[in-house]
Symmetry: C2
Subunit: 225 residues, 2 copies
Amino acid sequence: MTLRILVVDDQALVRRGFAMVLDNEPDMHVVAESGTGVEAIEAAREHRPDVILMDIRMPELDGLQATAQILETQSESTRVIILTTFDPDEYVYQALRAGASGFVLKDIPPESLVAAVRTVADGGAMLDPTVTRRLIGRFAGTLSADQAYAERLDRLTERETEVLRALADGKSNREIAETLCIGAATVKTHVSNVLSKLDLRDRAQAVVFAYECGLARVGERDVGF
Amino acid sequence: MTLRILVVDDQALVRRGFAMVLDNEPDMHVVAESGTGVEAIEAAREHRPDVILMDIRMPELDGLQATAQILETQSESTRVIILTTFDPDEYVYQALRAGASGFVLKDIPPESLVAAVRTVADGGAMLDPTVTRRLIGRFAGTLSADQAYAERLDRLTERETEVLRALADGKSNREIAETLCIGAATVKTHVSNVLSKLDLRDRAQAVVFAYECGLARVGERDVGF
DNA sequence: TTGTGCCTCCCCCAAATGGGGGAGACGCGG
DNA sequence: CCGCGTCTCCCCCATTTGGGGGAGGCACAA
């Protein structure tokens, strides 16, 4: 079973390069090449590739939009690997949200590219190590990017952090008092301190902050309330 | 500059196997091997490795706890790759939260393992493709689990959903009124409906719900307020 | 036509919240 | 010893919030 591949890049030379590398593999076949986003959508509909190598920067329609459109409207078995020349930063999240299964830099060694294609065709996902790192950071809430948040966070005392955590659980002052075994008045004080130290207005904003800075994470609480 | 490596696995044969593969690389040196979690912590403190290959299942102290402890208490330059025999499922999130930079299956081909070590030593992260896929799913919010949430969500009218989105931005009723160009009284009505329909008590819980159900996502707003 | 649902706005009122003070107790370091 | 930060609790008070009603307009379907 050979893998049908579509290569999309506005630079013909780059396109040919990738295509040749992949076509050289016995179990891979480049069924089409496109130079623009709209062409890519066209080609994808016509050829139903297993894997699409997609550049981001392209005239007419960029790779991210093309990806989203292809994955939304067409078969869900197609996997997309986003290729980019530059430091993966702003585009990554858009790409992943668009449904990409891979995000690699163009300076990837040929054998790694081949491996990436096989991986995503197999249902896996392959990201540039930097991207993976950042994704983990997001998930674990440990990594920087939240640097500014972290600084704001450690303005809080230990107790105040506990209170913020409780706020992020959607608890009222009374409930916080009970879980921390302190008086309601004390909770009020702590909450006030949290708000003023973090420059927030109310507990709702505190909840937002808790999620954004990674103190609270999606999936850690049940919203049965 | 040669990479100093620590291999941790309770099975001596497996341990030796990985160690030999890595020691064979000219720029890598296995400085120690450990058979238990506590030994690993000891060895890490003594040898200060650049990269630790860590098995999960071990007597005395499992690899996840050992990882967390090492990364918490010791130098932050050490990178940990978690090795597991089994289908990566429950352990993944614990591993990432513990601070691991890698999560790979033991049946990884030797050259990939070597590449993984270089990648994490270089500041990147390397996950099994399956894990990466799942992480992306989490991030993109596409993954189900939110089924119950989705049901609750579509009890809301369009307008009410807009209001909930605004709530998730930490906006007050007055601000919501302005952004939606309606009266403050109307906002009150909508908020009340949102709360009662979703069975929530206050706007703080509404914010939590918005994040948990994927209506609001981390990184989509700046918490400058 | 007669609902029925949605959006809009109004009233009143009780409860929670947030801000401003102050104060006592404790521990830690100068 | 004294200051400083932290945790604990208290007071007063303005504002916000949330719940209970009601009501008009509008669109859409029975």
